[in-house]
């Protein structure tokens, strides 16, 4: 039953109020308040140049982008075949694959990170197995370095990619693939010329969402990374936990927020395309 504008506004009111009061205003207040401590606009600009140009911050920004990029590539390489299998699977196989994606997806990030810490640690299960099998003589450093961060983040972010790709792949008409095969295209050619182009918007949307979530990551890199794997979110947290340096944190937050929201705007375009193609 259609609602008038007033009715819609009244029903939306409480939710909008919640988000304005506990999301928009706090973030806005934090940024303006913290920057306000610095004084005039010229002071803020000076501080911004000093903070954002500093070695630590530039290094963290570089790390953040590079790690998020590596994770996006890994997630895509693993997610594509899994999503494809999910599209093709039926009955019990479909349920099993779905469980393997959904259960981790809804398990707490801290629990998933802990699970990988158990596996990758110096005395972790993987090292125990490798030593027992005589493959290595000394335990490998699988964690507290970049490798650990990338493995952990890939695991946490994989479901986003699989679910995005799945909805894109599901929308591809299988008759198109058949037609291509029927006209003599090799399977590789069918994949490259028909299936990949038709699912490309899903690949882009999935890659964007993983990258967006990746650059804001905190828990996994903080627990599984080494001293040289500081990401921007960790630096922001440290400024506040350790030194209560609100202005510096606010400047970095502003950068992170700007990048996140711009990428999200691009994502919206591709995500809408996915929805439009869905049956």
């Amino acid at each position: 039953m259609p609602l008038g504008r007033l009715g819609a506004f009244l029903l939306l009111g409480p939710s909008l109020l919640l988000l304005v009061l506990v999301f928009l205003v706090p973030i806005g207040w934090f940024i303006t308040g913290a920057l306000g401590e610095l004084g005039s606009f010229a002071d803020i600009r000076e501080e911004a140049v000093a903070v954002l140009g500093s070695r630590a911050v530039l290094g963290a920004i570089l790390n953040t982008n590079w790690i998020a990029f590596l994770v996006t590539v890994m997630v895509l390489l693993i997610g594509y075949p899994v999503a494809y299998a999910l599209t093709r699977a039926k009955g019990i196989a479909f349920t099993l694959i779905l469980v393997c994606i959904i259960l981790p997806y809804f398990t707490s990030v801290i629990v998933r990170t802990y699970a990988w810490m158990v596996l990758l640690g110096r005395n972790g299960l993987i090292n125990q197995a490798l030593l027992a099998l005589g493959i290595v003589d000394a335990p490998l450093d699988l964690m507290y370095n970049r490798l650990g961060v990338v493995i952990g983040m890939t695991y946490v972010l994989l479901p986003y990619m699989v679910l995005t790709l799945y909805s894109a792949m599901k929308a591809v008409d299988p008759r198109l693939l058949q037609a291509a095969e029927g006209m003599g295209a090799s399977p590789l050619r069918v994949f490259l010329k028909v299936f990949l182009p038709l699912t490309l918007h899903g690949v882009i949307a999935g890659a964007l969402i993983v990258f967006i979530l990746g650059i804001g990551f905190f828990i996994t890199p903080a627990l599984m990374g080494g001293p040289s794997d500081i990401m921007i979110a960790m630096l922001i947290e440290r400024e506040i936990e350790l030194t209560q340096n609100w202005p510096t944190a606010a400047l970095m937050t502003l950068v992170l927020l700007a990048v996140t929201l711009s990428l999200y705007a691009v994502y919206q375009r591709f995500a809408n395309q996915t929805e439009g193609l869905a049956p």
Binding site: M1, P2, L3, G4, R5, G7, A8, F9, L10, L11, L12, P14, S15, L16, L19, V22, F23, V25, P26, I27, G28, G33, A34, P81, Y84, A85, I97, C100, L103, P104, F106, T107, S108, I110, V111, T113, Y114, A115, V118, L119, G124, L125, Q128, R175, L177, Q178, E181, P187, I212, G216, F218, L223, A233, E237, I240, L257, T260, L261, Y264, Q268
Partner: protein
């Protein structure tokens, strides 16, 4: 049906295709095992009777659970987590239902902008949301206050509720609501007798997932919990910074168990809905 069948036949028509199909299948099985393995390993380890982490364990026991549940700080964390998640679930589901109804049935401009705003907490890095709320909370003495943590969690749970309830409400034929009104129901009656019964399974799903969102949330809790209101994820975080010990496996298994129960309940609700309720969706 026949389309997929002939696709299968084409796939298996050459020996190369057969080999490739087997390889793809093996790869997928391997990846799926890899996805589930870390979780299974944690659950198995939590029942280990060994003094240190070894897989598979040589003996089994409940010693890590005894350690976990015997510690009053962990018990407090369970209580905090349940209370906060319960409150979040009520806030988010209630507000989310009203908003979802307005989004689906309401005619107003800027719907796209409102949607983008309501879903923004999913995209904005949690560290930013958490610090923003912390900035405000530290000024107003709200750190360590459980209802306030629940309100903050509701911010990130609301988008989850909205997504679930919007799709459920879209499946309710507005003509049913019109019919109820013609037969003399007022708006409240339409809601109570038509909309709510038809969307009840989705409301239960939304409640489950908003509970889970809060129960598993770490970033906001980390800043807002203080020492008084540590939730389970916060305590896990604090102990992981020190060492990777098997007690955490028992705690993790509890969290995984709650996730499994929520997913099973959601699945059950969907089954019930498919069987018991007529599909009022209009055809494509």
């Amino acid at each position: 049906m026949s389309a997929t069948l002939s696709a299968r036949i084409i796939e298996f028509s050459t020996t190369g295709g057969m080999l490739r199909a087997v390889l793809v299948r093996a790869l997928v099985v391997l990846l799926c095992v890899g996805l589930l393995a870390p979780i299974v390993v944690v659950v198995v380890l939590s029942f280990s009777g060994d003094g240190y982490m070894r897989f598979p364990p040589e003996s089994f026991s409940f010693r890590w659970y005894e350690r976990f549940l015997g510690d009053h700080r962990w018990r407090n964390a369970i209580l905090n987590s349940v209370l906060v998640a319960g409150m979040t679930c009520v806030f988010a589901t209630f507000l989310g239902f009203l908003a979802a109804y307005a989004m689906v049935r309401g005619g107003f401009r800027a719907k796209g902008a409102v949607t983008a705003f309501l879903l923004a907490p999913l995209i904005v890095p949690h560290v930013v949301t958490a610090i923003g709320i912390y900035y405000l909370s530290s000024k107003w003495g709200l750190v360590g206050v459980r209802p306030w943590i629940a309100v903050s969690h509701a911010v990130v749970a609301l988008p989850v509720v909205l997504v679930i309830l919007q799709s459920a409400l879209r499946a309710v034929d507005p003509n049913l609501e019109r019919a109820a009104m013609i037969f003399g129901c007022d708006r409240w009656g339409v809601f109570r007798r038509v909309v709510l019964p038809l969307t009840l399974p989705a409301v239960v799903s939304a409640a489950l997932f908003s509970f889970l969102t809060s129960f598993d949330e770490l970033m906001i809790s980390l800043f807002l919990a203080g020492v008084r209101a540590e939730t389970l994820p916060v305590r896990i975080w604090n102990s992981l910074l020190l060492e990777v010990e098997p007690t955490i496996a028992a705690v993790s298994t509890l969290l995984i168990g709650v996730t499994v129960i929520a997913l099973l309940a959601d699945w059950g609700v969907r089954q019930y809905r498919a069987r018991a309720l007529p599909d009022t969706t209009k055809g494509p």
